[in-house]
């Protein structure tokens, strides 16, 4: 058994340690003898997205994000095929925004998104940048758990029909909002950095399962020793939720 991961624009869309997510996926596959092949895709590089089981697009600073948009939009059909064929998708921050309808920046300029989902993002006014530790509760493929991370975004994302989770503490999609991210049966899209996966191994495992299930039929993964992961998570959950 193996999964093939496509890591988009890894030199440009690589903010706030998001590369840690890839490390986690590799580690958790290798520990279980699941083969994992991570391929990268740069601007102009020819790739058939549907050849992969997991598509990963992180966030970038505004400038880097502007550099990749034209290339990303030119791959719309290829990404659509992959989505239709149940490729698992993980999107962080800028990646999340770009799968929606559009992004409207501070000067009112509208940048078109891939338009796969209904949501859209508008730049915030100066004072409501969403920054800080965040905890949410998610129901991911039938299992309910708490997810911790760090958010840092100016964009306010509206029109999300199925959120990644309910905000327990922090901002979420908008300044002081109730819900965070977007999710459907193949896509997880979120503003949560931290990076997301090291302290949330259950989310990592769900993503691996989704990727495996593109070509296999697997219900569960062998458990791993997550002692440090859980400790690091608990410290933050206890602090954020003041249990």
């Amino acid at each position: 058994m193996n999964i093939k991961v496509l890591w988009m624009y890894h030199t440009l869309m690589d903010l706030y340690g998001d590369k840690g997510n890839i490390e986690v996926l590799k580690y958790r596959c290798q520990k279980r003898n699941i083969g994992i092949e991570v391929d990268t895709c740069a601007i102009g590089e020819e790739k058939r997205i549907d050849d992969y089981d997991l598509f990963f697009l992180g966030g970038g600073a505004d400038k880097e994000q502007n550099m990749i948009i034209a290339d990303l939009l030119s791959r719309k059909e290829s990404i659509k095929d992959a989505l239709d064929n149940k490729t698992a998708v993980l999107l962080i921050c800028g990646g999340y925004q770009l799968f929606g309808q559009y992004y409207k920046d501070q000067d009112g300029k509208v940048v078109e998104g891939l338009g796969f989902f209904d949501y859209y993002t508008e730049s915030s006014s100066r004072d409501n940048r969403c920054i800080g530790n965040i905890a949410i509760e998610t129901n991911l493929d039938g299992e309910i758990f708490e997810v911790v991370g760090f958010e840092n975004h100016g964009g306010q994302t509206k029109g999300v029909k199925t959120a990644f989770g309910k905000v327990l503490s922090g901002h979420g999609n908008m300044y002081k909002s109730e819900y965070e991210g977007f999710m459907n049966d193949t896509v997880i899209a979120t503003y949560m950095h931290g990076p997301l996966l090291p302290k949330n191994p259950k989310v990592a495992d769900k993503i691996i399962l989704r990727a495996l299930n593109k070509h296999h039929k697997i219900d569960s993964l062998e458990p791993l020793d997550d002692e440090l992961e859980n400790k690091a998570r608990e410290v933050m959950l206890n602090r954020i939720l003041k249990k």
Binding site: D14, Y16, G17, A61, M67, G132, F150, A232, V235
Partner: protein, 435 residues
């Protein structure tokens, strides 16, 4: 006579007597008077020093050089570089009519405070060391910081002393219209590299977005770069460092310097100092060398303590700084313990994700025996190290005293790498425990 100022000065005097410096007096001044900082009549030379890394060392060495040249200089030596700290510095060195009693002010200033206070401080010089990813959670993103600084320096008519080997800094030189721009640069030496896995900034030309070509990298994204499309980076060098030897002595304009701290980032600090002093037409040769060869930033910058075995304390706050400290830690192959203390209070930066951008895999060598993880985010750093195959060497010890006990009992030389707020606490414990 100004009552508010007198009150602030009194407060500062009392605190100094109690051996407590800090930012409280300035805080008081700014509460009473929002325009407190701009009321001061500044001296003829006002040098602001900012950048991500090297601010404290650079501004302290500039101060020493000016003093050795016979000037009286005020300086926020302890790195108290936000509004309150700067207000304290000014108030405690002014007469009752807001006149600063010195020939020069050398002020280390935080990158974000710079654009708010730039005009209020009436600078004659701005020294920019480098821009790396640091404490992004306060600023939003680095691009925003650079743009804001570009904005404030646009019409600046004074001297800009700039690191010509950092594309993020050269951008700021390009943005300036009316001032005098001076670039310092460091030539290739035997540790320069053609390729790097450390650079997270400076990949693209800020003018045309084409990839930048590097002739060589010194560390992180610092090196000799150029855009082949529009010649961005083709700078005129005012100070050029060459002939760096194994002992990190180096030459500028045929004169040899011998810095005490032997590291490439320190050579950049020295180059900034030389360039700044040169613009003032003061002695920047033997006077500066004398400072470089004696200068040691104590207070947790490679500070040596004597536990049962030697223990060095270093500040880490971002990937580039941490990478450089790790290079130093591993510069010999003696057996050692490493302790990493990660806090996430506001002065540390509340976003600790940068640990995933730093090259902790370098600690995966035989000479590193144990890695003690501590601080408010001890388990986060432990988890990070697990991903570098270091699980068997990790020990989490939350209590700082127990950390010191462990280091003492294990009887190996040790290195403590700590974020800012933990460093202060650890430092005072180490002073007590030192033999």
């Amino acid at each position: 006579m100004d009552l508010k100022l007198s009150l602030v000065q009194l407060c500062s005097k009392i605190l100094t007597k109690m051996d407590r410096g800090g930012s409280l007096p300035g805080h008081l001044g700014l509460i009473m008077d929002k325009e407190f900082i701009q009321r001061f009549n500044m001296p003829n030379i006002v040098i602001l020093v900012t950048g991500t890394n090297g601010k404290t060392s650079t501004s302290n060495m500039i101060t020493e050089c000016l003093r050795a040249n016979g000037l009286s200089v005020i300086n926020n030596r302890r790195g108290d570089n936000l509004n309150y700290g700067i207000a304290t510095l000014l108030a405690s060195n002014a007469d009752s009519n807001y006149n600063i009693k010195a020939n020069a002010a050398v002020i280390e200033i935080d990158e974000l405070t710079l654009y708010r206070q730039f005009n209020n401080l009436k600078p004659t010089h701005l020294v920019l060391t480098n821009f790396f990813r640091d404490q992004l959670d306060r600023a939003g993103e680095m691009e925003t910081i650079i743009r804001k600084i570009e904005e404030v320096v646009k019409d600046f008519k004074g001297d800009l002393v700039l690191n010509g080997d950092d594309p993020n800094i050269v951008r700021i030189g390009e943005a300036n219209q009316n001032g005098k721009v001076h670039y310092y640069s460091v030539g290739e030496y035997d540790k320069s590299k053609k390729e790097t896995d450390e650079a997270s900034e400076g990949k693209f030309c800020p003018l045309c977005n084409k990839p930048l070509k590097y002739e060589y990298y010194q560390y992180s994204h610092i090196g000799r770069f150029k855009c082949e499309n529009d010649n961005f980076g083709d700078i005129e060098k005012d100070v050029f460092v060459e002939k760096i030897n194994d002992d990190y002595s180096f030459m500028v304009e045929g004169y040899e310097y011998h810095p005490r701290l032997k590291a490439i980032f320190n050579i950049y600090n020295c180059a900034a100092v030389i360039n700044t002093v040169k613009t003032l037409n003061l002695n920047y040769k033997d006077v500066a060398d004398n400072i470089f060869s004696n200068f040691e930033v104590k207070e947790g910058r490679n500070e040596l303590f004597h536990l049962n075995k030697d223990c060095r304390l270093n500040l880490i706050k971002n990937p580039t700084g941490a990478n450089e400290v790790m290079k130093y830690v591993l510069s010999d192959d003696k057996d050692k313990n490493v302790c990493i203390i990660l806090n996430d209070n506001i002065p540390d930066g509340t976003d600790i994700s940068w640990i995933w951008d730093a090259h902790f895999e370098r600690l995966n060598v035989d000479s590193v025996k144990h890695i003690i993880c501590s601080g408010l985010r001890a388990y986060d750093i432990a988890l990070r190290l697990k991903y570098e195959g270091l699980k068997d060497k990790i020990i989490v010890i939350e209590d700082f005293k127990e950390v010191i006990n462990y280091l003492n009992n294990d009887n190996l030389e040790s290195h403590i790498l700590s974020t800012y707020t933990a460093l202060l606490k650890m430092r005072s414990l180490l002073e007590k425990e030192s033999l």
